[in-house]
Point group: C2
């Protein structure tokens, strides 16, 4: 069934179903407590507001909402993003903004824009699995820079690593998979270093608005306005509004946006008109100012439940974990003898608990690193978090 | 502004803004009568039904509608497509259906699935410009087979043309740009020939439901069930419901769908959940059975207005045009001295009328073919059709 009798492209021949995808299939079973998902909590979806927004759009502008529209995106939504960034002191214009069909499409367009077969791409180690999968479509080679508790280490971006690289891809806030946040000095150092190297810096920030503790740090795009260099920033409404709408955006210099518009036109013409209009209608009058604090409060509670459960049940186990101040994920590091990939089937079968093993987040030979796992704290209710973490601890004892 | 100081991929360096795109910009001016667009008529959008569908979905299943969902697509919509095809005698299962973000994304996924740099792709000559642009992203080489009044000529698919080709791409119904329909004997001959060659056949059918005259002919996918071979069929709700939603689908053998799912996951995770659900909610109870006859009636009237205007105003000009029995387009063929690309600026400036010149629809050296143009008859009201065609005739006299 899974073979064909005619030639496919190298990328299709090489593509294998993702580990996360296969895991998610197993964990759809209702008896499994899944910490594996990257899904935001549906408790945070403002469905009444979104329903009202669709109704308004389809009452007031049905012919616009249902028709083809410009590849760049719905102009009022792009303007909203411009003014939102102005309030954070970031100076952009509407021609710096492209609306995309979710952040994953931003990754696809970045791959299309930069990667020829064999081009070098620099990643944090570990990095977001969905980005690795997306870039893999264009057959790059990877180089990595190391990370620690404070995020990626800018000095790791050596001349050797940077040589002939097309870009570096980084998640500065509550990184997926580690939950770690890049500290300010390192942000500045990274932006300066990339500027000196003339190396485009991709800033992926799906979780920045989900900070539930401490002060927000300036983003890499904002810092590039002071320190130079080219930053391409990816943002998304998936975590602040709802992922099922599939609306994200790219902020970049005009010359980059203009190339990306051409690529997006060939890719899917444009993102759903009606969905863009509904997002704009939902948020245009400051809705997120009251909505986001509620989401943050929810995520903070969820994170606290999981950290408490880890403190209680993982006592005496040789393991450390991150204590995120936002986002969705906690990252566990066991001693090097532990293989979380091999233990996953046991966790699911014996304890009915699922997680994502750390291995696939490592793009390189580092794939031999097996002693990590990622837990999402956002979708499972409190009692199940405690029960699931207790079960998990049995596997690692 | 349009240059960057660091290397981009070859595809991005080569990408140029499309001719159609640039024309559409000019023709957004309200004083221009545009026959250039490929837009369906907003008069045919069933906005009340779609508004009610969104309301139902967001009232009954808000947490599903706003959450991430499987890459394959919303299962009830896939099942609807299966049963819709069953009513036409085409036997498919749900695993033969992938929902995509509009037909343009189907083209992107087909390119990703089949094309390595330099791979040969076979097109009709002329062929759909958006497909050429999409395939160009993956740097194929092209071979073409000739067409006449009855559509593509299957004997043109010689061993030499087919040798090492990855696929052939064809629009059998009311082709874009010519409006021509492939006749039955040729459909059968094409399917058999591709089967004998073991050459995948891509059937793009956005306009099939817009037949306003004569009997529907069996599709290539349907014929492959009798005559063998591998057909990948692209369909869309853009022309039967509304393009601003961006919902299309691919029907193919399971082994193909399964590879495409992997590619789509890396491309945009999945198509908007809420939009898929709203499409399903709109059509699930047979809505299209009453809606489509109205759209066909509208398009038939519009086509008649334009054919009448051509008969009246183009008398005495050395030109022929197609008389479509469905779809959106009429294709004009002048004598070989006429250059429609060069005349376009005069048509817009002097007569305030826009069309799409034929040149960009030719993928090859045939780009020297300059004596065609495409007119859309669907969006311009009757009086303006007459006025615009009269104006146009002045340019070609």
């Amino acid at each position: 069934m899974n073979s064909v009798s005619f030639p496919l492209s190298k990328r299709a021949t090489g593509a294998t179903s993702s580990v996360i995808r296969e895991i998610l299939k197993v964990t759809e079973r209702p008896d499994v407590i899944s910490f594996a998902g990257g899904l935001p909590s549906p408790e945070g979806f403002p469905h009444d507001q979104i329903k009202a927004a669709y109704d308004t759009v389809l009452t007031q502008q049905p012919k616009v909402a249902l028709q083809y529209s410009p590849t760049e995106g719905y102009r009022p939504l792009r303007e909203w993003i411009v003014s939102d960034f102005k309030t954070r002191g970031v100076d952009i214009g509407v021609d710096n903004v492209l609306i995309v069909s979710g952040s994953q499409q931003a990754l696809d367009l970045i791959g299309k824009l930069f990667i020829d077969e064999g081009s070098k791409v620099v990643l944090e180690s570990p990095s977001y699995l969905g980005a690795i999968q997306s870039f893999n479509q264009f057959a790059p080679t990877y180089a990595t820079i190391p990370t620690d508790e404070q995020g990626l280490i800018p000095d790791g971006l050596t001349d050797e690593i940077a040589k002939d690289a097309r870009f570096i891809y980084a998640l500065p806030n509550f990184q997926n998979p580690t939950g770690r946040t890049l500290k300010l000095e390192r942000r500045i150092a990274l932006v300066k270093r990339c500027a000196a190297l003339n190396l485009p810096l991709i800033e992926d920030d799906p979780y920045g608005e989900l900070r539930f503790e401490g002060e927000a740090l300036p983003g890499l795009y904002a810092l590039s306005q002071q320190h130079g260099g080219t930053v391409i920033r990816m943002g998304s409404f998936s975590k602040v509004l709802a992922p099922g709408m599939r609306i994200g955006y790219i902020i970049a210099p005009e010359a980059i946006i203009s190339k990306m518009v051409q690529l997006k036109q060939a890719t899917d013409l444009h993102t759903s008109t009606i969905t863009q209009m509904a997002v704009y209608e939902t948020i245009k009058n400051g809705f997120l100012d009251t909505h986001l604090p509620q989401v943050r409060e929810l995520y903070k509670r969820q994170c606290t439940y999981m950290l408490e459960a880890l403190d209680e049940h993982f006592k005496g186990i040789d393991v450390q974990w991150t204590r995120p101040t936002g986002g969705m994920f906690i990252w566990l590091t066991f001693n090097e003898q532990v293989n979380t990939t091999e233990l996953l089937p046991r966790a699911v079968e014996e304890q009915k608990v699922a997680y994502v093993p750390g291995q696939p987040f490592y793009p390189l030979a580092e794939k031999t690193i097996t002693n990590h796992l990622r837990l999402s704290f956002v979708t499972v209710p409190e009692a199940k978090i405690r029960q699931g973490v207790a079960g998990l601890s049995q596997i690692f004892k």
